[in-house]
Symmetry: C2
């Protein structure tokens, strides 16, 4: 028997995280029954988004432009704090706390030699360029302090130490977000109030 379009829809919806066969089936029926228009718009946005969204040239945040919203926001380029996160989800978690108005750098991972993730995969030479700026070029704003907001894992620690060395050789202060994030917990799951405390209580690294 040939695979029907409906079967294909149900199968492919399972590429979404947390979506198994039952949920995928419910989604497909729901779209067909009630949301043809909205589902079609979603399909177009997904196709365009997945083709066009890349990484910000400066901070590796997701954007379809050369530079992201944050890197081109003049209120934020005047701020000399740079928060380093493992993922864009973590960036969003820090943003949602409302307690940070500096810029970011997104590693998209952590050092993990076993998985073949080294300094290059994390864009650390790009980070070095960001930190090397003396602020004379307005397109390369000054960074005076790096705030590490990495997960408290073994890889996160190793990555923190590696970045600390880059900061030292560029005379940039380095801190880490404070206790408040449960060890073993996931940064992106933290509530905004805990995240605020962690940002306020940051310590010398």
């Amino acid at each position: 028997m040939q695979t029907s379009l409906l079967q294909k829809m149900i199968e492919q919806l399972q590429c979404l995280p947390g979506v198994g066969p039952k949920t995928a089936q419910r989604m497909a029926y729901h779209l067909l029954q009630h949301k043809r228009q909205a589902g079609t718009e979603l399909a177009n946005t997904l196709a365009t988004g997945l083709a066009e969204i890349g990484q910000c040239k400066q901070c590796r945040n997701y954007t379809e432009l050369e530079l992201c919203d944050i890197c081109t926001n003049s209120r934020r380029t005047q701020n000399t704090l740079l928060c380093i996160v493992e993922s864009v989800s973590d960036l969003a978690a820090v943003e949602q706390s409302g307690h940070f108005s500096g810029r970011y750098f997104v590693l998209h991972g952590c050092l993990s030699p076993i998985d073949g993730v080294g300094p290059q995969e994390l864009g650390l030479s790009q980070l070095e360029e960001v930190l090397a700026s003396d602020g004379s070029d307005p397109s390369k704003p000054l960074v005076e302090e790096v705030i590490l907001a990495l997960n408290p894992s073994v890889e996160g620690e190793a990555t923190s130490h590696y970045i600390a060395d880059i900061c030292k050789s560029n005379n940039v202060a380095i801190t880490r977000i404070a206790h408040g994030i449960p060890v073993g917990g996931e940064l992106e799951m933290v509530d905004t109030s805990t995240m605020s405390h962690a940002l306020m209580g940051r310590k010398q690294f």
Copy 2:
């Protein structure tokens, strides 16, 4: 600030049932990070599926063809049982029990005058045509017994009585699936074993 493509993705993913802002965000990041290829295929399938999947001319099951897989399956057209369900999800639930090898008729709802759902919206004239066949035309197989597999709601009961009248005037026997489905429960949530019992123990309506 202009809406970014990523924001559009997160917003539009919420047209999926059970997907709120947090889940939509996680889905968007997951696709961007790990599933660009699969996500793009999903987008194409959704666009095609939502444009092309319509209702089977005979049973109103979802299909991109004129007739669905079930209506064109010769093993099933030889079977003179016709199971009437409210939705394609309910059809799938009966199929998964593995205890039914007849055909279906999908109402896509229940009689509900307040919501403007009358016999026409449920395709009951189409059902009447199916039941009127004397089996001499191989493209219109004979139906000897209708099995009602509607939810035990007020609307389900009203609809059952309406269909019973159509069956009587066409000399088609009518039964309903047996106890086993909890009253007030949703048919599509029933486990396959309960569904099997309900089909086996069907009674004269």
